[in-house]
């Protein structure tokens, strides 16, 4: 969610109960301007908040030239001092998934020890065989933010364009979806590198505009029904919540270019979702 419009849009996404306190809002307003100038970002986004048992993490994202590839994530415990999160690799995500379990603690230097899990799990000897390293909570945080962005970041169709050079930029002439379009899930897209787009048939591709349809559509997700689309605030604001990652809320005011998403939750994926629908 763009830091400049944060304070008007925060009320639109707090339908799931979590918000920011006045002190945090005030602190963010100050610190994110400093952040933007220090790191020379084009835009700063407030990505969200991950609840820990002892402390909470606040996550910000700085965007450079390319809106998808050129992103940097930072975290803070007090909304004031920001620290860069480590670069995420596939191996790191896999390791974190295997080692780090349970809730976040709120201590970035906490080490998740694979030996401890092996001791508790007992039966999971096969998993324990793999070479696993200790994972610090900072790495886990980086991997979680990366995964959430990859799996459930949402933008409305047409809000971003890909230039002929391949750069993804905001679309200045995006005027919002109309209310009928906004009620349909196929007008919202994953804001990450497309995966299923290439597998589409030529017939389906014919309708797509290469400048704006370069992302995967939400309605093509494999687990059908993993999104909850509702109109809130007197049916004026379209709110999409991910059921796969409880806490991810996307809002779009139909007819305007206002849109954004924020994650406020405990940073755990709902692995039980197939049972719950």
């Amino acid at each position: 969610m763009d830091a400049s419009s944060l304070f008007s849009s925060l009320d639109l996404v707090c339908g799931n109960g979590l918000s920011l306190s006045s002190e945090q809002r005030a602190a963010l307003q100050t610190s994110m301007i400093i952040l933007k100038s220090h790191y020379r970002f084009n835009r700063v986004l407030l990505w969200g908040k991950i609840l820990g048992i002892k402390h909470d993490y606040f996550i910000a994202q700085g965007v450079g030239e390319d809106e998808i590839k050129d992103k940097k994530c930072l975290y803070s415990m007090n909304c004031m001092d920001w620290h860069l999160l480590p670069q995420v690799t596939e191996a790191m995500v896999a390791n974190v998934a295997a080692v780090a379990k349970g809730r976040f603690l709120g201590d970035p230097s906490h080490q998740y020890d694979p030996a401890e899990i092996r001791r508790q799990g007992g039966g999971d000897a096969a998993v324990g065989e793999n070479v696993m390293m200790k994972v610090s909570e900072e790495n886990r945080l980086a991997a979680t933010v990366f995964t959430i962005d990859k799996e459930v970041a949402v933008v409305p169709r047409g809000a971003y364009i890909r230039s002929p050079h391949g750069n993804v930029q905001t679309n200045p002439s995006f005027q919002g979806l109309n209310p009928t379009e906004a009620a349909k899930l196929n007008n919202y897209m994953h804001f990450s590198e497309a995966k299923t787009l290439k597998k589409k048939s030529i017939l389906e591709m014919a309708d797509l505009n290469p400048a704006i349809d370069f992302l995967d559509v939400l309605s093509d997700d494999v687990l059908k029904g993993s999104w909850s689309l509702q109109f809130e605030h007197g049916s004026k604001v379209c709110v999409i919540r991910s059921l796969l990652w409880f806490g991810l809320t996307f809002y779009h005011v139909p007819g305007t270019s206002q849109h954004g998403y924020i994650y406020m939750g405990d940073g755990l994926k709902t692995l039980d979702l197939p049972f719950m629908l």
Binding site: S19, S22, H233, L243
Partner: protein, 523 residues
């Protein structure tokens, strides 16, 4: 020279005119021409002066064309259907109408102070947004005006896939809510009567299966049914009263993991099968959440002192506000969990707050049909379940999968003298309680699901009942080989041969005996 310059100018003019004629040529498809289009486009650029105009010129061009198409549409348009936003706005309008003020001024209303709640929740970073809370307050006012309520509280909000529930916790005034229950029992009796009639007409073979005795529902105003709950989907829409919860619903709700859809009449498809629809499931989850997360600062409530002083401590099931409560220092509330206590009774494994001895019940039933069956052995007296007593501190709550059940926080680290302390439940994500001086409040905003800490293991169906005892005569065996058959036949032949030998001997003996008998008869 001049002539040649003039002629060149003429030529240029000629070319320009030709090109303009080309630009003015109308498209055979759309009846537009490029010249007019460019004029419109440039006028638009001049009017709007967009930044980096060259980058967006294609889009502008598109839009100009599109706007032309709109103008061409007939002036006779269909009246657009009312959008959902308009319909909702019409319904919410009633919230903002001032009722007859004078009549309500004197009576003390049970309306909760949601404005204050909003203020405190905002401090701790929780809430639904100010306008939404204001709408909820107005909706609660509507509820209070319509129903005879003793107490009313904004319990929280439960999110669903298609819609959300706003939940109000109320106590209905004495004597006003009995009618409904009677009606229900009447219905039940009627149904039984019908069933019996059908049986007489066409008797079915009776199953020997005896369902386990159902645990009786707790009466209103006690245990899990202490409060009544009303829900509505959006402020302004009608409030719906949730049915009372039964122990069976609570026990099943503990075993399943389902999201709410937002429709109260939606069926719950699950295993083990849930007795009821979403309204019952919602009520069961509300009961579980209340029991797990309704907390208050130590000393705010005290046990109600009744005449029956000899009662044991565990049997105390009601609390009242302590008039001498002075408030706890904020630091203490924010640091130790033992400063917080539960004020709602723990729900036992049985699905009730007060334990009921089922063995006694079954005995009564047995006595009725004693003639049919021999009396079974006295069932062992089951151990009564005892939960933690009321006003147990949070520090004694059980951990789930190495996650401590509560996190304590403080609303501000910078100015701690005015900060308020709050706790967040880790078992029921979305449950909060804050305290500020003498004031405290609980709220739940979430999906209505408990934190498990590990993957959910659905209950497995019981193993199928064996149809008949498994023995050697019905188990499959490997076919014998030729050699084995030969061996068997040889063995059988030998046996037969031996038997024949025996038979021959026996036959001779018999003949002799018969002869002897004949002799006796003759004599």
């Amino acid at each position: 020279m001049e002539r040649s310059v003039e002629s060149r100018d003429d030529q240029r003019r000629q070319t320009a005119v030709c090109f303009k004629a080309f630009l003015l040529k109308k498209s055979t498809k759309t009846n537009l021409n490029l010249y007019d289009h460019l004029v419109r486009l440039l006028i638009r650029v001049m009017n709007e002066r967009p930044e980096n105009a060259v980058d967006v010129i294609e889009d502008l061009s598109h839009e100009v064309k599109r706007s032309m198409l709109q103008e061409k549409q007939s002036t006779l348009k269909d009246a657009p259907d009312a959008t959902s936003a308009e319909l909702l706005a019409e319904q919410q309008r009633a919230l903002f109408s001032r009722g007859d003020e004078g009549a309500h001024d004197e009576i003390e209303t049970p309306l909760p102070n949601v404005t204050e709640l909003t203020y405190f929740l905002e401090q701790i970073g929780v809430g639904l947004g100010r306008e939404e809370m204001q709408r909820i307050l107005l909706a609660l006012k509507q509820l209070v005006d319509m129903q005879p309520l003793e107490r009313c509280r904004f319990w929280g909000k439960i999110l669903g896939i298609e819609g959300n529930y706003i939940v109000a916790e109320v106590e209905v005034r004495d004597g006003e809510d009995e009618e409904e229950e009677e009606v229900e029992t009447m219905h039940a009796k009627e149904k039984e009567g019908e069933a019996q009639e059908e049986d007489e007409l066409d008797p079915f073979p009776k199953s020997s299966f005896k369902p386990p005795t159902t645990i009786p529902k707790e009466p209103r105003r006690s245990g899990t049914n202490k409060f009544t709950y009303f829900v509505c989907r959006e402020p302004g829409l009608p409030w719906v009263r949730l049915p009372d919860v039964t122990p069976a619903q609570i026990t099943v709700a503990r075993k399943i993991r389902k999201l709410f859809t937002g429709r109260l009449d939606a069926p719950i498809v699950s295993y083990p099968p849930f007795p009821g629809n979403e309204a019952n499931y919602l009520r069961a989850q509300i009961a579980r959440i209340s029991a797990g997360t309704q907390v208050s600062p130590l000393g705010f409530y005290q046990f109600r002192e009744e005449e029956g002083e000899e009662e044991e401590e565990g049997a105390r099931d009601s609390v009242e506000e302590n008039p001498d409560f002075e408030g706890m220092p904020m630091q203490e509330m924010a640091e130790s969990l033992s400063a917080w206590v539960h004020h709602i009774q723990h729900i036992l494994l049985q699905g009730r707050c007060a334990w009921v001895n089922l063995a006694e019940k079954t005995e009564d039933l047995l006595e009725e049909d004693m003639d049919e069956e021999e009396k079974e052995e006295e069932p062992d007296e089951p151990e009564p379940e005892v939960g933690p007593p009321l006003l147990t501190p949070l520090s004694e709550d059980a951990e789930v999968n190495n996650t401590i059940p509560w996190s304590t926080r403080i609303s501000s680290n910078l100015i701690s003298q005015y900060a308020i302390a709050f706790v967040r439940s880790n078992l029921w994500p979305g449950a909060y309680a804050y305290v500020c001086g003498k004031k405290f409040e609980n709220i739940y905003i979430g999906w209505g699901l408990k934190f498990l800490g590990e993957g959910f293991n659905p209950a497995l169906p019981p193993s199928p009942q064996p149809e008949y005892p498994s023995g050697p005569e019905i188990t499959e065996e490997i076919d014998p080989s030729v050699q084995e058959e030969e061996a068997l036949r040889e063995a059988q032949e030998e046996k037969e041969a031996a038997l024949e030998g025996n038979d021959a001997l026996e036959a001779e003996d018999e003949e002799e005996e018969e002869e002897g008998e004949e002799d006796d008869e003759e004599n």
